[in-house]
Amino acid sequence: MTHDWVPGRAAGDDSDLLQILGPDGQVTRRDLPCPGDDVVREALRLMLLSRALDEKCIRLHRQGRLGLYAPVLGQEAAVVGSHLAIDPAVDWLVPASREQPAMLRHGWPLDRLFASLLGRIEAARIPDDVRMLPRQQAIATQLPHAVGIAWASSIRRREGVTLAYCGDGATSEGDFHEACNLAGVMGVALVLVIINNQYAISTPVSKQTRAPRLADRARGYGFPGVAVDGNDLFAVYEATRQAVERARTGQGPTMIEAVTYRIGFHNTSDNSSLYREPGEVAEARQRDPVARLTTYAVTAGLVDRDTLDAQENEVRAEVDAAFERASSYPAPGPEEAFRHVFAD
């Protein structure tokens, strides 16, 4: 009965979150598997690449050479850790909008990503063999699409699962609900990762919902949900791996809430100091997912500081080169404003 009601966890209490790698880079849950060394190395490279991309784009924006950009700074473990659990050769990626490292790993070349930011829309086209939707600007509308793709796979008896992303803000939209419910009813092979970065522009998640955890919503759709420490690559990877396994074996969808923090601004036109305290951001920086994984990797002997430095230089060069290539692609002619409305 309703007087039994417990409103849920206290604010700031994250003890319920699945965590495998602690903030100090030490493994806290020996009973759960850690990703293999190759996965850790790839994760590290992608996370560094993502940071280099964020930096480059913000710099370019300040120089007036690039339009609006939304960094993924601080959310790298959540995005990279989940994407590493799928196979781009057979699985579909349905991004929200700032999951750059996932898009890259899925096969969208870096220069094409840059081309999209530069408005070189023809060059930005997603290659035919890359099973990925374009970024979505209308919050949460991609989720029913993801369900449809996964449902088509099940109707056509194709292998491959669908990994979809959305933000904490997106969970308030009707589309989130209609998509999740349909996914449950049809039992489709969907893995939905909610990147809870605590904010939708200026709106903190505490004003977005009173749900103790967003992952609590899953039960209301008849499938499992799990909330994980989104700054812990291992936890995100393991939760997604299990979810992908469930999906591949016909057990239906899973919802994963990766609890993390948007260290940067919402996008390059946002001034986040207007709505959050510097102390809050500084504290979040303490939980930096890249530092955490780096500490682990160095401690475990997977990399040393020198290799890391070299790798950082490498990804920066990669980013610079890709930007140069993208800049050389032709800007669309006026006729492009009228092409691709219908089949020719």
């Binding site: 086209r125 209308a138 509308t141 449809g148 449902w151 009813v185 089949a343």
Partner: protein
């Protein structure tokens, strides 16, 4: 024709508009096994009008009852199409397409454009609409103007069984999204010959449903019949011979066909069940006065629903355009009033 039978090849059949819809779905599913149906109550029940009756049994695993969620239906159709299928979704009544309007205008209509052709969406959205059946609120709204204001979307509306069949077959084959408007009042009240396998051409457009030299009446869906009744009356009582043009493709409009039909007759009346302001009739008027600036006769009149919400019960008779109103407008444009 029994439920869920396709048309026998070669043999012309006499069908109701509803049967023609069902035959088109049946034949489309027979022809292409990527075609799937989804929507509220379309499975076991066969839809509230029985348009999909028998299809679930005939095509097991290809007809899906969905939860009560229109945005989910349209949004999932986008995904189904990207996933390699050819979804035909039913929205139980066109008015409820507004529940999914963001998925229609932002997603369904723009995916080809956004992705520079990487994705295209062969999706058909079928929806009953229009007045005359004393339906509850929202069940009779005509929203074609809003759909025609949405680039990237095609909108078809049949007025007869032959077109219900041929246009629906064309819609399903179309590589781009089509909203297919089914005039619910005509489902059972109009019958006609349907030629099996007759799929309308890609370049479908207007169709003259009655010839006449004195003026042109333009309608679509239910108002084609309003126009035909008016034309009959105009000839019988007033000796005025009016042609009736069935617009059929409401978006993109067949400008050439429309202007050709109007050019020789010069006087035009447009008739629609949607409300007057910013209705599709205005677009037709604007097109004609521009293309035929030197020949068209003014005013081009519109006979439409007034600018008020669709009223309940019998009041719809005072709301919908009538053939009497069309006659009055026609006499005015030919200078006989």
């Amino acid at each position: 024709m029994s439920s869920a039978e396709g048309l026998e090849l070669g043999a012309e059949s006499d069908l109701s508009l509803l049967q023609a819809v069902r035959a088109a779905l049946t034949d489309a599913m027979d022809e292409d096994d990527r075609v799937v149906l989804l929507g509220q109550d379309v499975g076991r029940l066969g839809g509230v009008f029985r348009a999909t009756e028998g299809l679930d049994a005939r095509f097991p695993g290809r007809v899906f009852d969905t939860p009560l969620a229109e945005a989910g239906i349209v949004g999932a159709s986008v995904g189904l199409a990207i996933g390699g299928l050819v979804p035909v979704a039913e929205i139980q009544f066109l008015g409820f397409l507004h529940q999914a309007f963001h998925q229609v205008t932002q997603q369904l209509a723009r995916y080809r454009f956004r992705s520079r052709g990487r994705f295209h969406l062969p999706v058909t959205i079928r929806a009953p609409y229009g007045g005359g059946l004393r339906m509850p609120e929202f069940h009779a709204d005509s929203l074609e103007a809003q759909l025609a204001n949405t680039p990237g979307l095609k909108v078809f509306a049949p007025a007869f069984p032959d077109d219900a069949y041929a246009l629906l077959r064309a819609a399903v084959r179309d590589p781009d999204p089509v909203v297919f408007l089914e005039p619910q009042r005509l489902y059972r009240s109009v019958r006609g010959a349907v030629v099996p396998g007759a799929v309308a051409e890609a370049s479908i457009g207007v169709r003259l449903r009655r010839d006449g030299d004195d003026l042109l009446l333009v309608g679509w869906g239910p108002t084609v019949h309003t126009c035909l009744r008016a034309a009959h009356e105009l000839e019988a009582r007033h000796g005025v011979r009016s042609a009736v043009l069935d617009l059929r493709v409401l978006s993109p409009i067949d400008h050439d066909g429309l202007c050709e039909a109007a050019a020789s007759r010069r006087r035009v009346v447009v008739v629609h069940e949607g409300v007057r302001s910013a209705g599709l009739g205005a677009e037709i008027v604007a097109t004609l006065q521009e293309a035929l600036a030197d020949t068209i006769s003014l005013p081009i009149l519109r006979v439409t629903a007034p600018d008020s919400p669709y009223p309940p019960g019998r009041l719809e008779d005072d709301f919908l355009p009538t053939s009497e109103q069309v006659v009055v407008a026609a006499l005015k444009v030919v200078g006989r009033a």
